[in-house]
């Protein structure tokens, strides 16, 4: 009984839904603040991401005419629950290196596609041509980054000699040539998974008005934003686990190191975001299937020969 209560607590509060959303909101604020400063603006106060969500919860929800209500409303829920589950799996694998199950890494990889899928289904169900365009772009983006991302992840599996999250977390892969290459590839894929510039093609506000999210308002939009906040915690954590030797939170030094690692990933993501223009979808696909995949393959070969 206590075990299942622990699990429910872990999933809903710490480190699952609420905790990861909180960390993600802080990250989101840092991102917005840095971006604003770079553009000579003042930027929002620290509580702005939370305020956004609370405000959205109080707004009217507009459902487009003639849609299948259940699909339109349920789509954001699936993304949220999958993202929180990945947070739990990753955190547990990091803290108790012997816990977790065989192949939990693959389960995490698969669960990570559900938030994108939720956005695609939601956008496609909203009967708006611009949302449909956005949904198709999101799907093509998934196809684009999935190949190099898979190769990068399995490069680390070769390096660490383990397919469990606990196993790869005990190995600081980025210190080797192959690990560094795989890290760069995975960072680009994570950027695309987050939908950040230069890969914010699916939402492209100035062009297709937020694409799949266009028809969402009020609580539905809040749920999508919450999912994105959780991903802002989960994806850097995923990269830390795979490449930077995981995190340790039992000692003060461990916590400081974990925060530093997280900050490093955050800085890199914000840096890429603020120094690049948006790509077109065919350019993104060509970029990922061309140079990035070749890079990933090179990294894998290096890993096999032991570099």
């Amino acid at each position: 009984m206590t075990d299942s209560l622990k699990l429910i607590f872990g999933y809903l509060i710490f480190p699952g839904l609420i905790f990861s959303a909180m960390v993600g909101m802080i990250a989101c604020w840092i991102d917005r603040k840095v971006t604003a400063r770079l553009q000579y603006r003042k930027g929002p106060p620290w509580y702005q991401p939370l305020a956004d969500i609370l405000k959205l919860l109080g707004k009217e929800m507009i459902v487009p005419e003639g849609v299948s209500n259940a699909v339109f409303l349920a789509a954001p829920l699936f993304g949220l629950s999958a993202a929180a589950l990945v947070a739990l799996i990753l955190w547990q694998g990091n803290l108790d290196r012997s816990a977790g199950f065989i192949g939990d890494l693959i389960a995490a990889l698969y669960l990570l596609t559900i938030p994108s899928l939720a956005m695609i289904i939601g956008g496609s169900s909203s009967r708006n041509p611009l949302s449909a365009l956005g949904a198709s772009r999101e799907m093509k983006l998934i196809l684009a980054y999935e190949l190099p991302f898979t190769i990068a992840v399995f490069t680390i599996v070769v390096k660490a000699g383990s397919i469990m999250i606990g196993g790869v977390a005990s190995h600081t892969a980025v210190l080797s040539v192959s690990g560094l290459i795989a890290f760069l590839v995975a960072l680009l894929a994570a950027q695309a998974k987050m939908g950040f510039v230069p890969f914010d093609i699916a939402e492209a506000e100035q062009e297709i008005m937020a694409g799949p999210l266009l028809e969402y308002s009020g609580p539905g939009l809040a749920l999508f934003k919450l999912t994105k906040d959780i991903l802002f915690f989960v994806l850097p954590l995923f990269l830390i686990t795979l490449f930077l030797g995981g995190i340790e939170v039992t000692t003060v030094a461990g916590i400081i190191l974990a925060v530093l690692k997280y900050a490093l990933i955050l800085v890199l993501m914000v840096l890429i975001k603020n120094t690049n223009p948006r790509l077109k979808i065919d350019q993104a696909v060509r970029f990922f299937w061309g140079p990035v995949t070749l890079l990933a393959i090179a990294g894998f070969i290096f890993a096999v020969i032991g570099w």
Binding site: L57, V63, P64, G103, S124, A132, M139, K140, V285
Partner: protein
């Protein structure tokens, strides 16, 4: 009389009654398929059973597959009660279905290769006739017959070789190691039979062609479920019991390469199709690649994963084809450009399709995820001994992303999106049509959530041995947590209820635009990918049927006959010249 004999003879005899009394055929087929299903459960529960006549033998593994086959027969017959109502040759239709399940019993329970080959050949006839059941079969049915029948001839060679090597035709009488050209040729010949039936590349090309003419029920029955069960059963039997495939042997690598190519090439084909049924038929090819990949590893977990995928695929693929049949019935359309917005009009079909589509794409916690996950595990296991595993793994995972992409296209353009002339008056189909699909969708969920405690334990592990280890993916637990997350999200909705809900037309730049001008059909979803530099050429080569072995071979035979007909030009003096030349050659040989 023995249950095994009844399961074999009863459907074949009653098929003759169906031919004679076409008005009663649908009731006869329903009753007989139900009886066969009940018998198959008895056979399965009794564990082992022997029938001295024809030497039939049932063990948990083959009777499990027979139970599945009988189940799909029953489902398709149930679905056909309403959907096939207007069919002209209704008596023959049900008769062929029954002959198929009877012959399938013969194949599955056979203990020697001769019996197996006899019933295997017998299966080809109803397949040929069912593909052309609407009277428009022609070329596609002929192609099916030639490809499946031609591979039967190859099987005969393989079986003759086994006879020569072994002196016995019992399946699994002796293990034949794949270390000399004799056994390898025998194995490859049998493989051709299994591959043509299951639709593995390069013997796949009859399936998309058949999908253009055959009714959806036939597609759901044969290429989607029964042919997969039988083809993969044969592949597993010969690769486990007769010619054990060793991990990292040449044959193992060949199988895995064929599996990977099948996964990727077929799913790329599916991605650009514009026809609902044809798109699904490409997935019927692509999915079988996973099974070949899993069995090809030669590792117990890979074989178990491949076999589990065989059951899972039969469930979701027949479900998808039946949903397609329902949509065609309701709208009269199979072109996806002309479909759209059916989610509100046909809710049951939509949800069922959604579940099946997520299952085939390997989304947790549905069944497709578990079997794919097992196959991935086996590939990772291979990493300890060979560096090639990453190619197979990348192909399998990438193929899975493509599968998802092509189903996103279908979900969007058939069920979501905006309605069309064909779909705006559509209504949900009769319960006799949606009930079978609902049953199949439920199985997708049950096989996913209770994977280890139900299907793997009873259907798969009897064949491969118990390989369950502690600390595996716990689908039940993950599902529970996901449901909890859904509930938490629903609470957020409730918390945000204060703002109220209103219904407004979609916002398209604030202008009133005619809907037809702004429809995004999904047919163009992946044109970007189609236009990619290298891929562009592959697609145009595939469209010119450059990779179709049937076209290649028939081109070859046409070329040969062209050469021969060049000799036969009907001019007497040419013939005389040839005779003279021949005579000189003969004399030269004789007097040399």
């Amino acid at each position: 009389m023995n249950l095994l004999n009844i399961a074999l003879i009863l459907p074949i005899i009653t098929a003759l009654i169906c031919f004679a009394f076409r008005n009663a055929a649908k009731w006869i087929a329903l009753i007989v398929s139900a009886i066969v299903l009940i018998f198959s459960v008895f056979i399965f529960l009794s564990g082992h059973m022997i029938s001295p006549w024809l030497m039939l033998y049932s063990a948990p593994f083959n009777s499990g597959i027979f139970m599945a086959a009988a189940f799909f027969t029953f489902i398709v017959v149930l679905f056909s009660q309403k959907s096939a109502e207007g069919m002209e040759r209704i008596g023959e239709y049900y008769g062929y279905l029954l002959i198929t399940i009877g012959a399938a019993a013969g194949v599955l329970f056979a203990t020697d290769f001769m019996t197996l080959l006899f019933f295997w050949g017998m299966l080809g006839i109803p397949l040929y006739l069912l593909v052309g059941i609407k009277g428009n079969g022609g070329a596609a049915a002929k192609k099916t017959l030639i490809m499946v029948g031609g591979s039967d001839a190859l099987m005969m060679i393989g079986i003759a070789l086994i006879w020569v090597i072994n002196g016995s035709l019992m399946i699994g009488a002796a293990r034949l190691p794949l270390n000399n050209s004799f056994t390898i040729i025998a194995y490859l010949s049998l493989l051709a039979g299994a591959f043509a039936k299951a639709g593995v590349m390069p013997l796949h090309s009859w399936i998309p062609d058949a999908s253009e003419v055959a009714p959806s029920e036939v597609m759901a029955f044969l290429p989607a479920s029964l042919d997969k069960l039988l083809g993969i059963y044969l592949l597993a039997r010969i690769s486990i019991d007769v010619f054990p495939v060793m991990p990292n042997s040449m044959i193992s690598i060949l199988l895995m390469a064929i599996g990977s190519i099948t996964i990727l090439a077929a799913v790329m084909g599916a991605l650009v199709q514009h026809d609902f049924k044809k798109l699904l038929s490409f997935h019927a090819i692509s999915q079988v690649g996973y099974m070949v990949l899993g069995i090809g590893t030669g590792l117990p977990i890979g074989i178990a994963g491949g076999l589990f995928h065989m059951f899972n695929n039969a469930v979701y693929k027949s479900c998808l084809f039946l949903c397609q049949g329902s949509v065609a019935q309701a709208t009269g359309e199979t072109k996806i450009e002309k479909l759209g917005g059916l989610a509100a009009a046909m809710p049951v079909t939509f949800y069922v399709f959604l579940i099946a589509a997520f299952s085939i794409s390997g989304i947790p916690p549905f069944n497709g995820f578990v079997s794919k996950w097992m196959i991935f595990q086996s590939l990772i296991e291979l990493s300890k001994t060979s560096p090639l595993w990453i190619i197979w793994l990348a192909a399998a995972m990438f193929g899975s992303a493509f599968t998802l992409a092509s189903f996103v296209k279908l979900i969007h353009s058939v069920f979501l999106g905006s309605p069309t002339v064909a779909t705006n008056k559509a209504r949900e189909v009769n319960w006799q049509m949606w009930l079978p699909t609902v049953l199949l969708a439920l199985l997708c969920v049950v096989f996913g959530v209770f994977a280890f405690s139900l299907p793997l334990k009873y259907l798969v592990f009897p064949a491969t041995g118990w390989i369950l280890m502690p600390g595996w993916w716990e689908p039940g637990l993950a599902t529970g947590l996901l449901l909890l997350g859904l509930a938490a999200g629903a609470l957020i909705y409730l918390a945000g209820r204060t703002g109220g809900v209103s219904v407004k037309p979609p916002y398209i730049g604030g202008e009133l635009i005619e809907e037809s001008a702004t429809r995004v059909t999904g047919a163009e979803f992946y044109n970007t990918i189609r236009e990619m530099p290298v891929i562009k050429h592959i697609y145009s080569a595939a469209e010119a049927r450059f990779f179709d072995i049937y076209e290649i071979l028939s081109g070859f035979s046409r070329g040969m006959s062209d050469i021969l007909s060049w000799f036969h030009n009907g001019l007497l003096h040419t013939y005389l010249a040839w005779m003279l030349l021949g005579g000189i050659v003969i004399i030269w040989v004789l007097i040399r």
